[in-house]
Structures are given as C-alpha cells and as structure tokens.
C-alpha cells in the first residue's frame, strides 16, 4: 500500500469534533468540514444538513489535488491555503498536518482575517490529534491487536451485500 490506511476511533473523533466545534463558534463560521486528502468526509459541524457533504468532500479533495499539482509545477511543495470568495458565502480551505483538509464556510458575519487567525490555532490542535491517531493505528497494527472488523467476515457476508 502506498500510504497507511486512515482509521478513526471514537475517542479521537470526539476530540476532533470539540476542536472544530470551538472553531465554528470562534470564527463565526456557518459550517466546518474535515476531509481526508482522498476525498472521504471525516467530520462536519454547523449547518451540515444544508449541504451535500459527500460531494463537497470529493470536490474539495479534487481541488486540493489539482492545486497541489500546480504548486509542484512551479516548484512549491503545496499551497497550504485556498480561499474562494463568493457573493454571499466564502470557502477557506487549508491543509492540516499535511494530510487532512479543513474547510470553513463563512459569510459576511465573519471575515477572512478572523477565519485565518482561528484556523491557525485549531490546525495546531488538530495536527496533534491526527499525529496521535496515526501513531495509535501504527501501534495497533504492529502489535496485531487491531479491532478491525474484517477479520471475521466470511465470503457469504460479502456475497450478501450484492444479493
């Protein structure tokens, strides 16, 4: 495998949600999403039900991948922050810990400066959580104590999905 599998546990999931919930309030944002670089939605807080979160996650990752490609072409490692300005709503997209994408949607009740400031602080906290998460997953893998559900899966279970 090219990169280790991303695994999320209850404990880290709670910690992450506490951080982005706080960011939502402090940045006066409408919605905040955390997306894996491969386009999988990790978590979202705020008015999430108003949006097609799956599509949003996939397009955000595509956007980061495309601008990452652009960065490499001009000799940059990556563009760590993207900002999209709309008539009413704006998107602030940033890379956290080199691996996950933090998406903040905000309108005129907030400002780019405020969002940038708060995102910076939250990013540091999220990086610590994700580093811990990676370490935990690696340790579990090494010691062979993964609570991976697939070990007990039978061929029948898989076939049943398609019946």
């Amino acid at each position: 495998m090219a990169s280790p599998q991303l695994v999320m546990y209850d404990e880290e999931f709670r910690q992450i949600n506490i951080v982005i919930d706080k960011l939502l309030r402090e940045a006066n944002a409408k919605v905040i999403f955390l997306v894996d670089k491969n386009g999988q939605l990790i978590s979202g807080v705020g008015e999430v039900e108003r949006f097609d979160t799956t599509s949003l996650a996939s397009l955000t990752a595509g956007n980061i991948a495309a601008t990452g490609g652009l960065a490499k072409l001009i000799g940059e490692k990556e563009f760590s922050i993207l900002f999209h300005e709309g008539e009413k709503d704006n998107l602030h997209i940033s890379i956290v810990g080199g691996r996950v994408i933090l998406v903040v949607l905000f309108d005129s009740r907030s400002s780019l400066g405020l969002v940038r400031l708060r995102v910076k602080k939250a990013s540091d906290e999220l990086t610590v959580i994700f580093d811990g998460l990676m370490q935990k997953a690696e340790e579990k893998e090494k010691s062979g104590t993964t609570d991976f559900p697939f070990a007990e899966i039978t061929d029948d279970d898989i076939d049943n999905l398609f019946s």
């Binding site: 495998m1 090219a2 990169s3 280790p4 599998q5 991303l6 695994v7 999320m8 546990y9 209850d10 880290e12 999931f13 709670r14 894996d36 670089k37 491969n38 386009g39 999988q40 990790i42 097609d52 799956t54 599509s55 996939s58 397009l59 595509g62 991948a65 495309a66 990452g68 490609g69 993964t146 609570d147 991976f148 559900p149 697939f150 070990a151 007990e152 899966i153 061929d155 279970d157 898989i158 076939d159 049943n160 999905l161 398609f162």
Partner: protein, 195 residues
Amino acid sequence: MSFINYASREINCKIVYYGPGLCGKTTNLQYVYQKTAADAKGKMISLATETERTLFFDFLPLSLGEIRGFKTRFHLYTVPGQVFYDASRKLILKGVDGVVFVADSQEERYDANIESLDNLRFNLEEQGYDLDKIPFIIQYNKRDLPNAMPLEELRKDLNLTGVPDFEACAATGEGVFETLKAVAKLILVDLKKGS
C-alpha cells in the same frame, strides 16, 4: 486506501474507472446512477467540458449496505481518458482501493487500449502501487458494435495476468453491474486479507 471510521461505523473505499478516451467510463457510472435506488446513492458529479468530455473526473458515491454492523460505502471515480489529461489522471489515482480498466473493443481503438493500460500501470507505480497487487478488473466494452475485436484477442493482449474480466455494453447496461460487483468484492476480500 480505505477509510475505516469506528466512530460512525463506516468503511469507505475508492474505485477508479480507467481507460482510453471515449471507451465508456462515464457511461458506466451513468448507468449505475440510473439503476440505483435513491437511498443508496448520492449525487453524481461530472466535471466535463462543454462537449461532455470528462475534464477532471466523474464522481458517484454508493452505499452498498452493512457488513457486520459497518456501513460499506464506495466512491466511484472516472478519469479523463484523453492522452493530454495525464496530470489529472495521476491525481485521481491517489488513495485508490480498486481499479476497473474499461477497454474499447473496437479494432481501431486497439492501440489506445494498450497505451492507456501502460499509462495506468506507470501512473500507479508513481503513486507507489503495483497494478498486479491491487484489486483490478477489466471490462471489454462496446461488445455490441460490428467492428468489435474477438474477445480472445483482446484478452490475450490486455489481460496478461488473468484478472477477472467482463464483456459489456455500458450504453444498455450489460455487464456494468457485474463489473462493479466484482471489483467491490475484490476490495472487500483484500481488506479482509489485510487484517
């Protein structure tokens, strides 16, 4: 690279449809979209040019049901087939769990198939994957056309490692779900092995 979320009890996997330009990758996804119940699918996104050629990717999220209390979700992507979109193709292969190679059965697309398959292997290697080690399915599309090459000939030149392969006519849907099921199954079996 699948994403296992113990908090929401979900397993997410990524399937990429690869192949030469106009071989029917988008048509495969469109058929799956049309025939899937509304509660099992999300919105299909196509980033295409004005002439409906794929520019970046198509995306279709599918929910297959539960395995041992875990929801299984598959994210289907296509790549742009045209040769000059190679930079975009590489990006879409990132984090892939399984690949479907859609071959165009028409005789005049023979070289394009070979070139695209080589390109797939090369681009995967660049991302650190070995095509022979990841879940991989071949679909021979456009079997209904009069200029389609004999199956055995295609198989001989495209399916060198004997992976599961299917004949299809994506426009009418023939072979589309067989292909999807086969790759999804390979991915799940692969995950099981990985444990």
